[in-house]
């Protein structure tokens, strides 16, 4: 996605978006090549995937074709990407730890890290907020709803 950005000044947002979807459609064709298409009177497992991938490519081509009117790629506001990347990264870390560490540890760490690292809030306040919030959520699910959240390490 990042490759052609610099060299082509005339490249517009819709060209990139359409291109990504065309690539996706082609990928679906390749991955699903072995699925039988079936006949019109007896559609196979591969009919709908191939039809939708075909439609996807078709509409993506239309968008590329009419893309000249769209914004220049450089005009897209990307100022929020650091925020997005940080939040995604931290959440991904939390998700990968969730089943091992359990709800209370992972989620209080998640909230704490988001507040301290991304929002630059003060450490003590963040810790207190994170602990209070997760304990409240835990209480709500486990006791009021009898649907305990992931226990994780805390039981061992």
């Amino acid at each position: 996605m990042s490759g052609p950005g610099k060299s082509a000044a005339i490249l517009r947002a819709d060209h990139i978006a359409g291109g990504v979807f065309i690539a996706l459609g082609i990928a679906v064709f390749i991955l699903g090549w072995n699925l039988p298409f079936g006949r019109l009177s007896a559609p196979g497992a591969g009919m709908l995937p191939k039809l939708t991938a075909g439609l996807l490519i078709l509409f993506a081509v239309i968008i590329v074709a009419t893309g000249a009117a769209s914004e220049k790629l450089s005009q897209l506001p990307w100022s929020d990407w650091i925020h997005a990347a940080l939040v995604t990264g931290i959440t991904a870390a939390a998700v990968s730890l969730y089943t091992t560490l359990g709800f209370l540890i992972t989620m209080s760490l998640l909230i704490f890290t988001l507040l301290v690292l991304v929002e630059r809030k003060n450490i003590v306040g963040s810790a207190a907020y994170a602990a209070a919030l997760t304990l409240f959520a835990y209480w709500l699910f486990a006791i009021a709803l009898k649907a305990p959240l992931e226990r994780g390490l805390l039981w061992f």
Partner: protein
Amino acid sequence: MTASFKGEQLMDRRQFVAGSAAAAATLTVQPSFGQDAYPSRPVTLINPFPPGGAVDVVARPLASVLEPIIKQPAVIETKAGAAGAVGAQFAANAKPDGYTMLMHIVSISGFAEVDKLFGRQPKFTRDAFIPIARFIADPMVLVVNDQQPYKSLKDLIDDAKKNPDKLIFSSSGLYGALHLPIALFNKAAGIQMKHLPTNGGGPALTAILGNNSQVLVSSIAAASAQMKAGKLRPLACFGDKRAPAVPDVPTLKELGYNIEFYLWVGLFAPKGTPDNVVAFWRDASKKAASAEQFVAAMKNLGQDVAYQDQPEFKAFWDADAKRVESAVQSIGKVEG
């Protein structure tokens, strides 16, 4: 660290509250760190089907009578997906410490066979589980829509022989618990019907009620209200003797077909679970299966508790798995 410390305190309270809600009479306050005696914390029963499904209706009443027996909360965790394969695989890979147990039905025996059919490496086989106990075993019943003329199984077979692929039977899904028995029957009777797969027992029943399919093999419990109301006509039963709920319906064995098929629900432990834990669960299951509240709940569902302890259950399961495997083979790989 404050969070985790507080967490532990909270958890003790949770144990206390959850336990007391269900088992006020037998509650003894647990020492927080006395971990020697099994079970020292809540146990999880994996339900591999959606809520309200075949396992759920047995597991919920079971869990509520288990709690006072094992003196710990029994938490039902739904891990539905892929017709029960996701939950079974999760249990197969769980730590065999007796805190993760699996409730599953007849279709547990079929997954490996289906994988073989498609040339896939089976993700787990029957060997991954230790059978503990069977709780219910409801024989299947073959029903037809009341708008159909068939009064006996012979009528049905004769017509199906004359007009192959005219009749349609619905099922809970390909290789599902409602598909396997009718596949066995079709093979034994030498007839062909079209298969209308749906995504569950409810939709399969809806299809036959709307006469979008004409034949269905269902568990007796699931079809009993409709049979009573006269919307569905039972023609044959898949048990080894007649079922008390439908005493007038002949079994397939009486009619000369050597087929048995039950929708049973059993409790399993992952392979490698210590013997003392297995013994504990056999004992707990036995007590739970005879608990008045559980028996009453099953009665209301239209079935009798058909409890089997480990040795009988294992023998039953081995024989049952042969039936399931041959049913999967007779269906084969579907084109398209």
